[in-house]
């Protein structure tokens, strides 16, 4: 990991500043974080970078160290936002990897601008409306239930010190992240009813990954993505809940890196 120590950078866009971590070298990989996981360079990122990729991990608008971007208020705005990010980075084509909420953004980006993607990796992506396989309401869950929902093997809830008051800045930062998420996905809840009928537009090589024990986004969502994205492949990571890159970072990094290597060689073959 020290070899791939990331740098924290800011991109200046018209609507504000985007914070991102960037580490490793190789073909560029745009990593789009889930509702949790902004503002941090995690073990997963380090391992992916270590596998030979230039990993670029921005904070979404309103998350962690990125500015609010108040005009980014719906998924179509986020898609244009990430096209702006790619332009500002000077990257014509990238591998896009997205997890959960970030996976939804990745799928929408691929629908809108498949030509900007070398490949697409969806890690238990949100975004589909499957009323028969509903996604529980994360906004209504008390923290212990949220942990039970996100993890196959939930970590113990940290015991609060008696009489301790939560640090106000920490509470406010978490509330800001949740607000940024809700701005995009309160209703329709974590889905775009039109996404399904557009998935056929994705021409990039696609891998859909699901954890074996996803209690938030039922595996039917991953299966629907596989069925509707031309040529998409499916992989499962065992003994893991929805908090994929927190619970099994090494396995997820391995599965993703292995697919990206394949996509890389397939592309270089096609280009010759």
């Amino acid at each position: 990991m020290p070899d791939d120590a990331p740098t924290g950078e800011y991109l200046e866009l018209t609507g504000g500043r985007v914070h991102l971590f960037r580490g490793g070298s190789g073909e560029p990989v745009l990593f789009l974080h889930a509702a949790g996981g902004a503002g941090a360079w995690l073990e997963f990122h380090g391992q992916l970078a270590g596998a030979g990729f230039d990993v670029i991990a921005p904070d979404h608008p309103g998350f962690a160290m990125s500015d609010d971007f108040p005009l980014v208020e719906a998924m179509d705005d986020l898609v244009y936002h990430y096209l702006d990010v790619l332009d500002a980075l000077g990257l014509e084509r990238v591998h896009v990897v997205g997890a959960s909420f970030g996976g939804w953004i990745a799928a929408e980006l691929a629908v809108a601008a498949s030509h900007r993607l070398r490949s697409l990796t969806l890690l238990s992506a949100a975004g589909l409306r499957l009323p028969e396989h509903p996604v529980p309401d994360i906004f209504l869950m008390p923290p212990p239930r949220l942990l039970e929902t996100l993890f196959h093997d939930p970590p113990p809830v940290p015991a609060a010190e008696p009489g301790a008051t939560p640090d106000i800045d920490t509470v406010l930062a978490a509330y800001r992240d949740t607000t940024a998420l809700a701005r995009i996905c309160w209703t329709p809840y974590l889905n775009n009813p039109k996404l399904e009928r557009r998935l056929h537009r994705i021409s990039a090589p696609t891998l859909v990954v699901a954890p074996s024990d996803d209690r938030l986004i039922p595996v039917a969502h991953a299966q629907r993505y596989v069925a509707l994205i031309p040529g998409a492949r499916f992989a499962e990571v065992a003994d893991c809940g929805h908090a994929m890159y927190f619970e099994r970072p090494a396995e997820f990094a391995r599965v993703v890196a292995s697919f990206l290597h394949t996509a890389q060689s397939a592309l270089s073959g096609a280009n010759q």
Partner: protein
Amino acid sequence: MKFSFFHLMPYPYLPDDFDTRYDSSALTYPNANFDPKLGASLYSRYLDELEYADQLGFDGVAVNEHHQSAYGLMPSPNLMAAALTRRTSQARIMVLGNAIGIRGNPLRVAEEIAMLDLMSGGRVDSGFVRGIGWEYFAHSINPTKSRSRFDEAHDLIVKAWTSEEMFSWYGANYEYRYVNIWPRPVQSPHPPVYIPGAGSTETMKFCALHRYTYMSVYAPTPIVRRWFDGYRQAASDLGYVADPEKIAFSVPVYVADTDAQAHAEARPALEWLYHRGLKQTPQMVTPPGYMSPGSLRGVLMSGMRGFAGASYEDLLAAGQAVVGSPSSVAARLRSLYAELGGFGQLIGLFAIGPSTHEQVARSTELFATEVMPELRPLGVAEDAPPT
């Protein structure tokens, strides 16, 4: 001092295992627990109580809006107000208020209030509220848009009431090509507006700017004092002295013939209100984006806590309920008047939780005949306390 009788119309029949089994009386509390036959008789009883307050000489009778909750059974306050227009004759009919933050079509609110104004002969007061946290879940309205929707709906409604020319409206949340409401309200320029405040400085300034009535929600006295002072300061910043009548203190009130009887009867009622009726999870209270960062910081720093830990004695001491014989209630309200720096309207919640109709009627009657005359001289402009 003006006095109004405010009704929440609670559904008090919670099951014995409510406290351990359910985390709220709202949103997710199954409506299998609602008995429509009991509900129908409650409506009849509650309307009787509001009508009785009119007969007793209250200056106003007040209703409000809540959704998917045993706490309050009025998803449409305008329907209740419509019923009251025909069965009351003196009192103002106060809708406190329409939850314009969660309404899909705010023009409909402008139309309904205008109708009520005509039907009541110009007796309607129009409160506007954002809708409380759980209602953004209940009606699937994005809470991050709450403030923006509220502000825009307010501006649209007031313009729709007052404009004598058809206009078009293009806003962040709403677009109307033809705004031209029939009927227009009878009060000029429009029905008086009431806004509840819970500490937001934006709301204080907004009320002071428009000279709207600023009303408190249930909170400990020192906190309500800060809100009222904030409103008075906002008026002063605009170059005028706030009329006390534009400051409304709202509080549950229970009066009985003796202190002992009052406390014996009020204790279970208030415990119902604060511990069951208002039982909510933090997620329901503050959905994402519902509060601005500044307001949330203010709330966290003020140390304001939920009601769950407040005992009956705590609630009385903090001025979150006023209970006793007529003379005790009058004395306590006098002291709260002083502690709050004055107010010109008292919005009393007399029908509290599981109180019986007989209890509510007696409490209302004692208040009207023995407490109101005592306090009537307070809170008029000439004795306004210095700010």
